[in-house]
């Protein structure tokens, strides 16, 4: 019922998954969308429970 970092995922996946480089200077990015996202990454807001509504996925997708 809670999001947690998947730290104990199978070791194999940790080994093959390259760590992403963090772009430290958002001002260098000439795109407003990427600038916003970079700011959110820097401010660690990804797991803010209110950042986006988590109701999503409860939705009829079959048709």
């Amino acid at each position: 019922m809670e999001p947690t970092t998947h730290t104990n995922l199978d070791l194999a996946t940790v080994e093959v998954a390259p760590k992403n480089e963090i772009i430290s200077d958002a001002d260098q990015m000439p795109n407003s969308l990427l600038q916003r996202l970079m700011e959110e990454v820097k401010n660690d807001t990804a797991n803010n429970m209110f950042a986006y509504d988590r109701a999503h996925n409860r939705h009829n997708r079959g048709r």
Binding site: L9, D10, N20, N31, M38, H56, R61
Partner: protein, 350 residues
């Protein structure tokens, strides 16, 4: 897609079930360190009506502090100011399901008389947009992708609706029952649609928020992801049916009849959720989120796609030990995301 559990269920939770559920949630709040969220979904939650909705939200909010989100996923048709006032009182946000402009939405979303619901949904969303507490209540829109539609047209339609965010979902499907308008495991209809959406999104100088793309881009930028079925994030989702039965994620219903049932039928009227969350059966269910297929475990993009939604892994032969039926779509999208991030940041990502 093959589920018949709904036939045995009552339409609404009884007071006794609500009491059992709330007792469990209260205990979880007291003893679980991390916050969790509660989502009312359906069917259609607003079919509860004013009185039952008010009672349910009141009881939930009595045990859930305000920083524990309560949210409601609705088709939007029954939204009224009276209903929104109740949601506002108990701090429950509202997300509306709409698939795009009229001809896209009405293609699949019809009422019992087979008439498209677009105008009713739009009317409901308009009430939500103009409610005095709209800033809190309006949690955005949710759309299911039709790969035959124009991603650009869908994007611009949502943007003019002044929504705070949109999320897009792939249609249900698996290896034994391919998603609608996907020709084969190797085809990339959904991935191509998403890339078209991405290009429109990036070219907008004042873009709205698209959660699924934001989440994937954030991972590429070094962040973490907040969406089920994406990234290396461990979610634990349990569903409480209207009779109080504890169930697995209801999206699993699309794989085979009864796929969302635990071996033992347990009910929140009889046990505490926290006791169930410590059980071996729950642990096994939670581990289903971790991909087991060799292709996934060796894939350099696993930390972005996470192996996909469990329901999309299913095949009648290998059960859940497959890559997602959307694997080709996701790899195509991720490749394009990487190229775009590299282009804008002048960094070598690929």
């Amino acid at each position: 897609m093959g589920d018949d559990n709904w036939k045995n269920l009552s339409k609404f939770m009884s007071e006794e079930t609500i009491q059992g559920l709330c007792a469990s949630l209260e205990e979880l709040v007291a003893n679980q360190k991390k916050c969790f969220s509660v989502v009312l979904h359906g069917g259609e939650p607003f079919l509860l009506g004013i009185k039952k909705l008010s009672y349910l939200l009141q009881k939930l909010r009595e045990v859930l502090p305000e920083h524990y989100p309560i949210s409601i996923q609705t088709n939007g048709i029954l939204i009224s100011n009276e209903i929104l006032d109740i949601c506002s009182t108990y701090r429950a946000s509202v997300a509306v399901s709409i698939d795009g402009p009229e001809h896209v939405h009405n293609k699949y979303r019809v009422n019992h008389k087979n008439a498209g619901t677009f105008n009713e949904v739009l009317n409901g969303f308009d009430i939500l947009l103009h409610h005095p507490d709209s800033e809190f209540l309006n949690a955005g829109l949710l759309a299911v992708i039709d790969p035959l539609s124009s991603a650009s047209e869908v994007y611009h339609f949502f943007k003019q609706m002044a929504t705070p965010s949109v999320d897009f979902l792939y249609k249900d499907g698996n290896h034994s029952k391919l998603p609608l308008n996907k020709k084969s495991f190797d085809s990339t209809e959904y991935g191509e649609w998403m890339v078209s959406l991405l290009q429109t999104y990036l070219s907008d100088p004042e873009p709205m928020k698209i959660r699924v793309l934001d989440d994937m881009l954030k991972v590429l930028l070094g962040g973490i992801v907040s969406k089920e079925g994406l990234g290396i994030t461990d979610f634990a989702i349990v569903i409480i049916d209207t009779d109080g039965t504890i169930m697995k994620n209801d999206t699993l219903k699309s794989t085979f009849n009864g796929a969302d049932k635990f071996e033992k039928s347990l009910n929140v009227k009889d046990i505490l959720l926290s006791d169930f969350l410590k059980s071996e059966e729950f642990k096994t269910y939670k581990e289903m989120q971790r991909p087991t297929n060799k292709k996934c475990l060796a894939c350099s993009e696993l930390h972005i796609c996470g192996g996909g939604m469990i329901l999309n892994l299913w095949s009648n032969e290998e059960e859940f030990n497959n890559p997602s039926v959307y694997c080709s779509d996701q790899l195509f999208l991720i490749k394009n995301l990487r190229n775009i991030v590299a282009k804008f940041t002048n960094k070598e990502y690929v």
